[in-house]
Symmetry: C2
Amino acid sequence: MKNPVVNLTQAELSALKMELEAEYSEFASRNLALNMARGKPSSTLLDHNNCVLETLDAPYAADGTDARNYGILEGLPEMRNFFGSVLGIDPEQIIVGGNSSLTLMYDSFVRLFMFGSGGFPAWRTFSKLKFLCPSPGYDRHFAITQEFGFEMITVPMTENGPDMDIVEKLAAEDESIKGIWCVPLYSNPQGVCYSDETVARLGKMKTAAPDFKIFWDNAYGVHHLYGEVKLADIFAACNAGGNPDRPYYFFSTSKITFPGAGVAMMAASPAERKEILKRMGIQTIGSDKLNQLRTLRTLKDAATLKKHMAELAEILRPKFDIVLNTLESELADGGFATWISPRGGYFVSLDTMDGCAKKTLELAKNAGVTMTGAGATFPYKIDPRDRNIRIAPTYPANDELQIAMKLFCVCVKLATVKKLCGEF
Amino acid sequence: MKNPVVNLTQAELSALKMELEAEYSEFASRNLALNMARGKPSSTLLDHNNCVLETLDAPYAADGTDARNYGILEGLPEMRNFFGSVLGIDPEQIIVGGNSSLTLMYDSFVRLFMFGSGGFPAWRTFSKLKFLCPSPGYDRHFAITQEFGFEMITVPMTENGPDMDIVEKLAAEDESIKGIWCVPLYSNPQGVCYSDETVARLGKMKTAAPDFKIFWDNAYGVHHLYGEVKLADIFAACNAGGNPDRPYYFFSTSKITFPGAGVAMMAASPAERKEILKRMGIQTIGSDKLNQLRTLRTLKDAATLKKHMAELAEILRPKFDIVLNTLESELADGGFATWISPRGGYFVSLDTMDGCAKKTLELAKNAGVTMTGAGATFPYKIDPRDRNIRIAPTYPANDELQIAMKLFCVCVKLATVKKLCGEF
């Protein structure tokens, strides 16, 4: 770092502020309307998947089952085989859902809360419920935990996943802690990949709650951008630790085919899966099997999926390059922010100087660039240091993204300088 | 009735039993394997809807929204407009779901149980919960009520809907009664259509529970077979009675396009809908909008739907004719059973002599014809008089249905005669 902004004199800061304000005004005058708020794919990327829209010939499963009619609660065998082969999971542990893995997570909370599982009491019978929330994390996870009245315990992230010393201590001590949220590969928003050691420790750690659950949301399990990162097997880790019923595994094709019309799945131990299916059978006769067939006829098998994801990465990687190159060229030298360069997934996470995230995003919004709200990556939407910002570069076109990122960097710098000038 | 079986002498009964046993043996020797257990459409009927499988050109909503991407929790405006126009409901009251109205019902129970609505306490906070279950009724409704721990109160059906004298009395007296299941048009299984008076009384009746809910499952709302029957407007009735938040309305295209891949919806008062959407937004980012477009491009508008349903009725009506003609020719004279001739829907409900339903279905099953289990049409699967049988004629091919119905009638008669002979 050549000349950290914190080392500037008041006069230098004032001069820099004027310079940045001029740059900002120039951007603001352009009447931009760009959205980097959510992890949505661009229409170019979606166009690449349009084969899913084509006529579905022969709407029958491999065994002849008429996929148009009712039935097959657990999903078509070939769909379970596909997920199993892609993720390294026994298809007999898999349940295929509708278009949303979020719904499978929410509904899992419903079942645990209403009924419990494995012979343990329903979670609603406890006077106090807590959940471990590695943060920065995914706002929709936190929203579920909050909706069900859990106290959310923030656990800091390391470059290898959640800080396992803290996770182990908390989980061992407090029986009201019922589980943990995990996005183990290319975590949302930091892009952290859980190390083998982290996975092993999650599988074997002692928990005060006998029905502690790992919500293993492997949303970006095949979303490599800069080479493949391997994730250790959470089922193997939990089995090795003597805790086979601990993990609930989630995945979907939302960011493989179409976000609004993908196929979601969950997996669990044979005992848990049996219980889940029994209860799920009260809620539905089965998910959309035609969409399973459509998805399968596009993605075919693990090898075809790999090729497909490499093609999508060709579209996505330039966006991440724009983000990371702009951050590097604009912010690195002045020490305005820190960030992690992800190797896959859908996001880049950036930390401003403490107390500057809200102001940065306010400046960006006022100049026409909407980003994920400040605090969204923390429980209760409260970032204790007001510094984390989630950048979602996948939706805008590349030229727009370049402009948005330039503006964003001006906003980071301007907020920092204003802060150092004591303006807020 | 020429010669009621109950008037036969023991000698006549014995002779008849021998005759029926011979007939039964002849059927049993054919190694039949026919299924009339569930309300599934036949493949011929599904083939008629195959246009839904065709390439979805231009996956965009009328307002340009990319239906492939995330969003639009409440469903595409044109999908809500379609349902609104078909059912006479304000589209602003409608929420489009996934492929299952059963799931929308289950999830409504979840929300009421977990959180309550309209400022009233969550149902889980009550020590005692009861639900009115007009019977014979739909087994999957009863399964939801049972899963959530409700005591199910059986209410007898009349030809105009549930016995409203009983419904009004119970609902007014007992604040632990939180609602009622209704299939108001061509009820499952009897095909009863609720009269205008029944609907008006449901809307205005006093209920001890201030948050009493009508689960209005209009599953067969457009499934006319022998001319159109009009159903009174439950929202108007509840508004007129000063109970706007009382009804939850459910409908789907499961038996219009494909049972496994239709589009479901629910509707509620503006206040209830707002609350539902807020909570639903924690569970999902939105349902499959591509399937909404596919469905819309086939069904188009209310007039096209009407034509479509008339075409489906051409396929279904011969099946009902086979059932009703066979019952008439085989069972009417001997007074073996009573049944209602439905004017639409998916089922025919038959009552044997008391205590003969289980035996009839056992005989049918042993000869290769599987039907909905005895008792399934009552809470807890217990038919207090062991007499009600649901006939689901929609799945088998017509020639198979004819054979199955002939055998079924032999089984009804044989069970009756065995009963009268004191064999069980």
